[in-house]
């Protein structure tokens, strides 16, 4: 310390203080033994000689705002006293973490940046207790998470490194669901295509019938109404077949004439069909499906395959809307409590699984 600094110190201030600066620019001084409880601050003082005066205040990481710093210092102030019993410390900790989730997260972040591990552990445990046992929707709400995994991503085939027949069953179900999703998508594409087709043929017809008069606007409006009706119908359906039926029931004669052939052809062609808009994606999907189905089906004879398909449908029916999450759970956690030997008796193991699902 320089002579100037020595002159400024008043006798009653024989305690040493450390100067800290938060990212917003504000500077404060903190009792040395309290501040040094934080490894990051300790490091700055000892290795770099910082913090001894206002001009050499230690710049704290950005994640430490004044409010968090105040909380952290309260924590340090209590725990740095050596004489306290474990009971006292536990009691303090329990009261200390009583704050809302947002603050707990900020505090964890701030404590982490100061390398204050005991506080990080304390707040992390508190956060873990808050989220354990909750459903994905509840957790998303607590942490303001976007539900940004697409259905396809939630349906990623699960790696079956242990050749678990239940995982095979689930992957089969996922593959089916992906197919359904893809078919639904294809129908949406067909809709776009058939609108194009419609436009051309209606326009042609109009120009033929009306000789390019202003009637086209009116026709287009009624067409868009039909478009919306069709879209709504599609959203209600969960299977491609029902969607096709609705298409065919369209009261508009023009649509039927132009599109039923298109629809029939595209959907019947099934997996191999490609549409302009989703060419690459479909190919990747197809290859994935083929690989998975190939993997699953290569040792199973048709009769057993049918039984498995029925099991899969049954299984799918029993798991309603929140099935991706429940699926992950059931895959990993079934209802087994004891270790089970999976004998390669196909019927036996499948039946056992189905029974354990009936709760």
């Amino acid at each position: 310390m320089s002579e100037v600094d020595m002159a400024v110190i008043k006798p009653e201030m024989m305690k040493s203080y450390i100067w800290l600066q938060t990212a917003d620019g504000s500077i404060q001084q903190v009792e040395q033994e309290v501040a040094m409880f934080c490894p990051m601050i300790c490091h700055e003082v000892i290795q770099k000689g910082m913090g001894s005066s206002k001009n050499y205040a230690i710049s704290l990481p950005q994640r430490v705002n004044p409010a968090m710093l105040s909380l952290i210092l309260d924590y340090c102030r209590f725990h740095q006293v050596p004489g306290r019993s474990n009971k006292e410390r536990k009691s303090f900790d329990e009261k200390f973490i009583r704050m809302d989730t947002k603050r707990l997260c900020e505090l964890t972040s701030a404590a982490d940046s100061l390398q204050l591990k005991p506080l990080v552990d304390l707040t992390s445990r508190a956060l873990a207790r808050i989220i354990e046992g909750k459903s994905p929707e509840e957790i998303r709400e607590i942490f303001h998470l976007p539900d940004d995994l697409t259905e396809e991503e939630k349906l990623e085939p699960l790696k079956n490194t242990t050749d678990d027949p239940r995982i095979r069953l689930l992957n089969r179900l996922y593959a089916k669901k992906r197919k359904e999703l893809k078919e639904r998508q294809k129908l949406k594409n067909i809709e776009v295509e058939e609108e194009r087709v419609d436009d051309r043929s209606v326009d042609d017809l109009l120009s033929f019938i009306n000789g390019d008069n202003g009637d086209s606007k009116g026709i287009k409006n009624s067409k868009s109404k039909k478009k919306n009706r069709r879209r709504k119908d599609q959203q209600k359906n969960t299977s491609a077949n029902e969607a096709i039926k609705n298409h065919n029931k369209e009261p508009n004669g023009l649509n039927q004439v132009c599109c039923s052939a298109e629809v029939g052809q595209t959907v019947r062609a099934g997996v191999g069909a490609t549409s302009n808009l989703h060419d690459v994606e479909d190919d990747i999907f197809d290859n994935k499906n083929e690989l998975d189905d190939g993997d699953i089906d290569d040792e199973i004879d048709p009769a057993l395959k049918e039984k498995i398909d029925r099991e899969v449908e049954d299984f799918a029916r029993r798991l309603n809307s929140d099935w991706p999450e429940r699926m992950q759970e059931i895959l990993s956690f079934g209802h087994e409590r004891k270790p089970v030997h999976f004998s390669l008796n196909g019927n036996g193991s499948l039946r056992r699984y189905a029974n354990s699902e009936q709760r």
Binding site: F143, P146, Q328, K338
Partner: protein, 263 residues
Amino acid sequence: MEITKVLPDDCISLIISLTSPRDACRMALLSHAFNSIADSNAVWQMFLPLDYIHIISNSSSPPSLLSLPKKDLYFTLCYHPILSHNGDMFQLEKESGKKWYMVGARALSIQWVDTPRHWTWISLPDSRFCRVAKLKNVGRLEIKGKVKLNTLSSNTNYEAYFVFKLVRDRYGFRHTPVELDVSIEGTAAGEVRSVILDPPRNMPQQAKERVDGWLEIEMGEFFNGFENDRTVEFSLREDHDDQPKRGLIVQGIELRPKHKNNR
């Protein structure tokens, strides 16, 4: 405030690893960001037992298991028991990651087991171990086992089960109880339980049937604390009436974490 913008990934990993394996699976479906964190090795390593590398290295399982992603390794260890070189079997309990442990008959001290007119070693397809011990004839029955506490999960209450079968032409177990005892070496002996392995039909059956078709009967329980350089000892004895006994098949002794809601 979105949590992934406030907290760095390794903090989120820590929080997830403090929940449960089941929760971690759920959290992989929350969002893109959570998907990669919740499935990461950083999280699943925390669910594996501390000595998993040691266990796998000293077992008959291929060392390639160790190069699996930790989540896959976790579930492999849950569904496929590992046979260690000294004949014991490890498995993980899915919900908690705690160890299940089984001492096979070969690793138990069974009196007269190597004398062919008393005991014989046979193979049964529904047993986990390739050999189980079948009783031909003894007057005094004594089966003992011991396990080092540091091979088990610490801070856990364990229950010990004697896993056995009885063949059709058995005798000596219908009216004579056997004494079961579990105690940690160096501490006061736990309660000795007296049970009948083969009660007549009108008496309550104390042994329970397992999923693998064997019977199990609880021998006792013990708590594995943190200072675990001790051994826990198990014994099954019938040495009072000297009557001939026959037809008991011993698979081993299984140790499982105790659950309050079970039984």
